[in-house]
Subunit: 92 residues, 2 copies
């Protein structure tokens, strides 16, 4: 007989938004701002962010948040220069 | 005497989110998904998006939306492979 001892896992949906900390130069954004100006679309300010939308399994909301936080710190973002924001919801 | 005929401009704040159309392959996202797995953080799905946060002047909300739409079509996105979403609000 197989064990019926099983950890139930929930699925969580996370949206991670990563941007440069204020004060950090963003040459890509500056270039795009200038290019838009040349095309006739001046802007007063332009910032860029990256977004990761992911689904993961975890035993609890806290575990899911911990995991996504670790993903950011270890791979997705560079904590020295980036800020990140995690929006998490249960998805089933 | 200088003319007091002046078009009043409002400032608008726009958040543009750009992602690949469904069905388009995203090798960067696939690579990051694999890298997360190797680090011990498996995900069920992972997508990437780009975000532009910009402020612009326009005479009306419609004009602002039209301008941002043109920016997307002409520079920020590639309409053949990307979807984009514009969230616009008056900022002063």
């Amino acid at each position: 007989m197989v064990s019926d001892f099983e950890v139930s896992k929930m699925q969580y949906h996370a949206e991670v938004t990563i941007g440069l900390k204020s004060g950090m130069l963003d040459p890509e954004a500056t270039t795009i701002k200038k290019a838009l100006e040349h095309l006739g679309y001046p802007t007063n300010s332009l910032q860029m962010q990256k977004r990761f939308i992911l689904d993961l399994d975890a035993a609890s909301r806290d575990e899911a948040r911990f995991k996504v936080d670790e993903m950011c710190n270890r791979l997705l973002a560079n904590p020295v220069i980036h800020n990140y924001e995690i929006v998490l919801e249960e998805s089933g």
